[in-house]
Symmetry: C2
Subunit: 210 residues, 2 copies
């Protein structure tokens, strides 16, 4: 009978703190996030953090881990449930857009808010972020290559090139939707990738028309 009472309560609050941290970080960044405000949001005292994490950096690392897991479940997961090839690629894009549209995170996207903060600041947090983003990019490239192998995208497609385009068109929804366009940017991002894929797909009937 391990992990009961005190132990379990620790795990619970640890998770709620991390969840709050990821949500707040999607708004004001991982460093802009202050322990005081996070404590208030999580309903604990400031010093309670240091029972779970050595310092702010350790919490940031765990927050990145948490965000990666959330992204994998809610964006990568749905894509893997679609048939491999062009349809899976587009399903990935749509799952991302749905993640944004549903407002899962108050700031839209954890990784977007955090990349802008850490792209010029060396350290373990940046290293962890770079690894996460590399794996994400690599994942898209693999889906593209797979679609080519399956004959659902023409041979001339460069996976790295197409992966960049899909990622860029999806990620910029965050800025555009929050600053001026509103939901129109979701439509633009969806149409852009859809038409691009249809143009490269020998059998466009695999993808929705619009």
């Amino acid at each position: 009978m391990e992990q009961d009472g005190r132990r379990l309560r620790g795990l619970r609050s640890r998770e709620t703190i991390l969840q709050q941290a990821v949500g707040l970080a999607s708004v004001e960044g991982l460093d802009g996030l202050s322990l005081g405000r996070l404590a208030a949001a999580a309903g604990v005292s400031k010093s309670a953090f240091f029972a779970h994490w050595r310092d702010k950096e350790q919490l940031q690392l765990d927050a990145v881990e948490w965000a990666v897991r959330q992204w994998t479940e809610q964006v990568v997961g749905p894509a893997l449930r679609a048939p491999a090839g062009a349809r899976r690629l587009f399903a990935l894009h749509e799952a991302r857009l749905r993640f944004y549209a549903d407002g899962v995170l108050p700031g839209g996207c954890f990784f977007f808010a955090v990349q802008a903060e850490f792209d010029d600041r060396p350290g373990v947090v940046r290293d962890r972020l770079v690894r996460a983003m590399r794996e994400w990019q690599e994942f898209i490239r693999r889906l593209v290559a797979e679609a080519v192998t399956l004959g659902e995208l023409v041979d001339s497609v460069d996976p790295a090139q197409l992966a960049y385009e899909i990622d860029a068109l999806g990620e910029m929804v965050i800025i555009h939707s929050r600053l001026y366009d509103g939901p129109a940017s979701l439509v633009h991002a969806r149409r852009a990738v859809l038409q691009r894929l249809r143009a490269l797909c020998p059998d466009p009937a695999l993808l929705p028309e619009d």
Copy 2:
């Protein structure tokens, strides 16, 4: 004989402070930028700011203004010197990429760093940013529409849609080049827009082949 000695010196230091502010803000954002570090970088005392600006917010507003002017000169300007139509549109994209590649600002792009900070924080600074980004987006749309009118892009082109794509593909260079891809993302961004424009252009010879 006005604006000499004291007056002129004030204008000069005002400009150097603003220039430093825009550079630093491109790295750590407009709010992450602290007056203390800015003072050190500009070689003045912290309290010198308040002779020029009422508070930090006023300095931020002027920094935005300064960044807009720099962007207009170095990105919009070169585009306007290219012949109207598809070539001007691509010249705009290339001018932006050159701005990034040349490392004009240490953080890559002022607006990118700042949008991520203010997209969730209301206030006059955010309002000014929104206006600037709206005008930028509107400018791209106008160039697209002009190219359609000139018959250099097919009629079916939706200006807002294509403007979103061009902007997104260009802006994401900042993240990708600083976090993993390096200069490869510049190539991807260039090729993506070039091929997209060539596909929509009745006379692709107007644009470079690669």
